[in-house]
């Protein structure tokens, strides 16, 4: 009998982060997966980051996670999306070499002290008195642990669709784990079905790159993780092509053969990542849709055409891609397909991603109805940290909507559930001016150090950075007169008096660079930090205004609602509202306000009754 503190099932992005995070917390951890060589495999597009998603990567990295460093190790193309907008919505994104990324993940996993890798199929959970006590592998071995984290992706009832064809399984070439699935179904967890799709993979040697618009890698030096000192791989370019009228016609003529339209797939797919047949069907009037041709690696000719995920039959896929400029003679290496799968209604989880009905069992990743590597990784991190903290009697880092996208996602999932695969968007974060991708370390690494999940290397890096931040604060509070600025050619009126540097940074045309006479020495120490501090100063008035709002929020967070709060007893709540609230089981009144469909009137009723119960309990004790 092998005994651990935390068991993690599944070696995908969620599982890797969960296992490493738990081990970093000091928990004796095992990672169980079908195939140890497949750990860190990127199932689909080898791109990491993007709008909203880049924030998640930086945050996971700030808590010493794996994905940021591995992305840098595999990166063959860097692009800062949204560069023209405010920095809070910049989206760092890399195109990674699939092989190099996977190798980097595996190297980090294998080097992680306290983490044991176990190859095998998790066949069944062991339960005692409703609590998790361990796991049984298919070949009979039993592993014991009080905390088990499920990161098994789309393995639950996965069915693949391509035209009229059907296959069983998660991804092409992988088995669906039937026994575990049956057990979870038996436990009567609320489940629902979603679908997602992938485009055909192209042979880059058959693309006429010369006629296409190139998109080069950023020529700056930024990396996903600050611990990566420099970009390591040669950088390749992507190219842009478009779908055409002829292609649209072919799609329209064959819509009835797509499982999405024939009725074979009923589950909801992501609105923000629709299949090409969806795009044509819903927005058919458009001239053509942009398609990014993204190389999958340095040593492979495979190209990922981003923007044409499809489940049309192979012959139609071929016709469609060949109508795109530059792709007239392109060869499909692997056709696209759609997957329909079961996921757990994440409202069945508490904010630490634990299954409310089965104490000790945690779920993270696609199994919770999300899509994307970054979303999976971020949840894996939370579940791993919380499971380890619970096993060891510690506390995980205090994440909330005002300090982390990670918490925004977990809060959204556990309160609102999902009606389509959940993907991070900056629009989901109400305090996004303070949640920037470039200040993740400032926001979170300190919390990580406190919780005990930060390794030596990052801790030292962070301590140096904190010292530097103090120096920046000193520099930013220097008083400088408008005259001096004007003398240096800055666009300020000479009669604007004397102000600290931090206030001058709010003026149009006053950039950190233009203030170099006052900041040069510190900026030279850390230009990235210099930029972050300058943005802090520029956004300060907005952040100050949000503080008042946050105080309001904290006040309604102080009013807690028990997970068995008797919503049905609150007069005035409709049955529908009672059901929504009971399902989501919001932990606080603030959370209840975020449960969809809860009206202002209902909220006031809840407030009054929660207060009343609180008072009575106080009186009783």
């Amino acid at each position: 009998m092998h005994s651990f503190d935390v068991l993690v099932i599944g070696g995908g992005h969620a599982g890797v982060e969960a296992a490493c995070a738990a081990a970093r917390m000091g928990a004796r951890t095992a990672l169980v997966s079908f195939d140890l060589d497949a750990i860190g495999a990127m199932s689909c597009n080898p791109a990491i980051g993007g709008l909203g998603k880049g924030h998640l990567v930086r945050e996971v990295d700030a808590l010493d996670g794996v994905i940021g460093r591995a992305a840098d190790a595999g990166a063959i193309h860097y692009r800062m999306l949204n560069r023209s907008k405010g920095s809070a919505v910049w989206g760092p994104r890399v195109q990674a070499d699939r092989v190099r990324f996977k190798a980097a993940v595996q190297a980090i996993v294998r080097a992680q002290p306290g983490l044991t890798l176990v190859q095998g199929e998790a066949a069944a959970l062991r339960l005692e008195g409703g609590r998790v006590t361990g796991l049984e592998l298919a070949e009979g071995t039993v592993l014991s642990a009080s905390r088990v984290v499920l990161c098994t992706g789309t393995f639950l009832g996965g069915v693949l669709f391509r035209g009229e064809e059907r296959f069983d399984g998660g991804r092409i070439g992988e088995n669906a784990a039937k026994r575990l699935a049956a057990q979870l179904r038996g436990a009567e967890l609320p489940m629902a079905r979603l679908k997602t799709g992938t485009p055909p993979r192209l042979d880059g040697r058959t693309i006429d790159w010369a006629v296409l618009e190139e998109q080069p890698s950023d020529d700056e030096a930024w990396t996903m993780s600050p611990l990566t000192s420099a970009r390591v791989n040669p950088q390749v370019f992507c190219a842009i092509t478009r779908t055409t009228q002829a292609g649209h016609d072919a799609i329209r003529a064959n819509l009835h053969r797509s499982p999405l339209f024939s009725g074979a797939i009923a589950a909801a797919g992501p609105r923000y990542c629709p299949s090409i047949e969806d795009k044509i069907h819903r927005f058919g009037d458009r001239e053509g849709h942009q398609v990014f041709l993204e190389p999958e690696g340095l040593d492979t000719p495979m190209v990922y055409p981003n923007g044409i995920s499809t489940s049309l039959p192979v012959d139609v896929q071929e016709t469609v891609v060949r109508t795109m400029p530059g792709c007239e003679r392109v060869q499909i290496v692997q056709p696209g397909y759609a997957v329909e799968y079961d996921h757990i209604d994440p409202r069945a989880l508490t904010p630490d991603l634990q299954v409310r009905a089965i104490p000790g069992l945690y779920c993270a990743g696609q199994i919770n109805g999300t899509t994307g590597y970054e979303e999976a990784a971020a949840q894996g991190l939370v579940a791993g940290l919380e499971a380890a903290a619970a096993a060891l009697g510690k506390r995980g880092p205090a994440l909330d909507r005002a300090n982390a996208y990670i918490a925004v996602m977990v809060d959204d999932l556990t309160l609102q559930g999902v009606s389509e695969p959940y993907r991070m968007l900056t629009a989901r974060a109400e305090y996004r001016l303070r949640l920037r991708a470039n200040n993740a370390a400032t926001r979170l690494t300190g919390l990580g150090v406190e919780a005990g999940c930060i390794g030596e290397e990052r801790r030292l890096w962070w301590e140096r950075r904190e010292d530097l931040r103090k120096m920046f604060h000193v520099k930013h509070s220097q008083m400088v007169h408008a005259r001096e600025l004007a003398d240096h050619g800055l666009p300020v009126r000479r009669d604007h008096g004397e102000k600290p540097i931090s206030e001058w940074l709010r003026y149009d045309g006053v950039t950190p660079d233009s203030l170099s006479p006052w900041l040069a020495d510190v900026t030279a120490c850390d230009p990235v930090l210099a930029e972050e501090m300058a943005e802090d100063a520029a956004y300060a008035p907005y952040l100050a205004r949000q503080d008042a709002e946050l105080r309001d929020l904290r006040a309604s967070e102080a009013l807690s609602l028990a997970s068995d709060f008797p919503y049905a007893e609150v007069p005035g709540l409709s049955n529908e509202m009672v059901e929504r609230l009971s399902k989501a089981a919001p932990g606080t009144l603030a959370a209840a306000g975020r449960v969809p469909g809860v009206t202002p009137a209902a909220l006031s009723a809840l407030l009054v009754h929660a207060r009343r119960r609180q008072l009575e309990r106080q009186r009783a004790s």
């Binding site: 809070a88 942009q290 968007l425 629009a427 975020r594």
Partner: protein, 428 residues
């Protein structure tokens, strides 16, 4: 949980009246019906019943109604007794109710508080009902009724809807910039923000409902012995102020709230204005106060020499019955408080002016809190209009949304995402 007390109150106008409706709300409402009417009628159906007290004495023959909770006005069990509206009958029925265990008379506003606490009405509606209870004049009542009926909530919902649409457009630009669909904000975007801001502006300049509580302020001013206090007494129809032929009789500011033609007024009598070195110390303070009162006036009735009153004051010729009265070229009104001459016309004109300055009957009006929230929203929209960074535009729009949400008491970003995805073709 200790039993919630059951409350009752006369919910129609003060007796005597045609009918007196007594409402009973709370867990004991059903028992109260049983006790008085001897039975509980079918829900939501009026039926005739004899009301008797504990000793079996007949109190009245009344229409009784039974509304089981929670789908009632208060969210609780509710009974209504439509009695004959005579004072004695009402008093007798109320007395019988007081005798029942667990029943007590409702405190002012308690029905509303319960409706709000039980999720029957939102914040703005609750405020409207609160105002309704304290409404004393017809105008106050009409305005409160409009708010309680949800007119303001509906208006805010409408604005919020439009704001969500605008937010969705900016979010599209921020989160999907790589999509050709949503690369830039449409040209009409700023225009739409302005249009919305303008609408809020129209509400903000409207008379506020708390003005109804204070009433329209009419300040009487002029030199000593001009007849201010006498006219004041005539206008408020009581001997509130002392009058005498001695110059400097009135030394302090005297206020009286009255309703004329259903419109709330506050009349203010002041000390006669004269050179401060002639006046004694106390009178000097009074004169000072009189000057302050002039500043807060909606209308000043000027009883002094023509042209010497504050700008915009109404020139009044008082004591018109006296043979030696001094006429004015631009006299608005010539009145005599003694004979009543000209008083009717003056009052009529005051009512007209007040109706202009106070919320229109039936039109929802903002109270101070709502006004503050709405100003915040308007301010954020104005800022959004002037900004070019879509990120900051989005932040200002969010601030406006938060202000709306606080106005009616709600919060969520999910609605906005729905609007966002319903409108655009968005890929990744």
């Amino acid at each position: 949980m200790p039993e919630t007390p059951t409350i009752f109150a006369l919910s129609s106008g003060a007796p005597p009246a045609g009918v007196g409706v007594i409402r009973v709300s709370g867990p004991g409402a059903r028992d109260a019906l049983l006790a008085l009417a001897g039975r509980v009628p079918e829900p939501r159906r009026a039926s005739l019943a004899s009301l008797r007290d504990g000793s079996g004495a007949l109190l009245d023959t009344a229409l009784v109604l039974w509304f089981p909770g929670p789908n009632t006005a208060t969210g609780e069990d509710l009974a209504e007794l439509h009695c004959h509206g005579g004072r004695a009958v009402i008093a007798a029925v109320e007395n019988a109710l007081t005798q029942l265990p667990g029943l007590r008379r409702a405190e002012p506003g308690e029905f509303t508080r319960r409706a709000f606490a039980n999720g029957r009405i939102d914040l703005a509606e609750a405020e409207g009902l609160g105002d309704l209870l304290t409404a004393e004049t017809e105008l106050q009542r009409a305005a409160a009724l409009a708010n309680a009926g949800g007119a303001l909530s509906r208006q805010v919902e409408g604005w919020r809807e439009r704001l969500l649409g605008l937010s969705a457009e900016v979010e599209g630009v921020l989160d999907f910039s790589d999509e050709e669909d949503s690369a830039a904000l449409p040209e009409c975007f700023t225009w739409n923000i302005s249009a919305l801001a303008e609408e809020l502006g129209e509400w903000l300049v409207r008379p506020r409902s708390d003005r109804l509580g204070e009433g329209f302020r009419v300040v009487l001013a002029g030199p000593p012995n001009a007849g201010k206090s006498t006219l004041f007494n005539a206008l408020v129809e009581s001997e509130a102020a002392i009058t005498s032929p001695i110059a400097g009789t009135t030394r302090d500011v005297i206020e009286r709230a009255v309703a004329i033609g259903g419109v709330p007024f506050t009349f203010v009598d002041t000390a006669g204005l004269r050179d401060e070195d002639v006046a004694d110390a106390i009178e000097a303070i009074g004169i000072d106060r009189a000057r302050t009162a002039l500043g807060s006036a909606d209308v000043v009735l000027w009883l002094g020499p023509e042209g010497e009153g504050p700008i915009g004051a109404w020139e009044i010729v008082a004591q018109a019955d006296r043979p030696n009265f001094i006429a004015k070229h631009s006299a608005r009104f010539t009145v005599s408080a003694v004979t009543g001459e000209g008083l009717g016309a003056l009052k009529e004109a005051l009512v007209g002016a007040a109706r202009e300055a106070l919320p229109k009957p039936g039109e929802a009006a903002l109270n101070a809190r709502q006004h503050a929230r709405l100003s915040e929203a308007a301010e954020a929209l104005e800022a959004a209009r002037l900004l070019s960074d879509p990120l900051l535009v989005a932040e200002e729009l969010r601030r406006a949304r938060v202000a709306f949400d606080r106005l009616i008491g709600r919060a969520t970003t999910e609605d906005m995402l729905d609007t966002l995805f319903g409108r655009f073709c968005i890929g990744k």
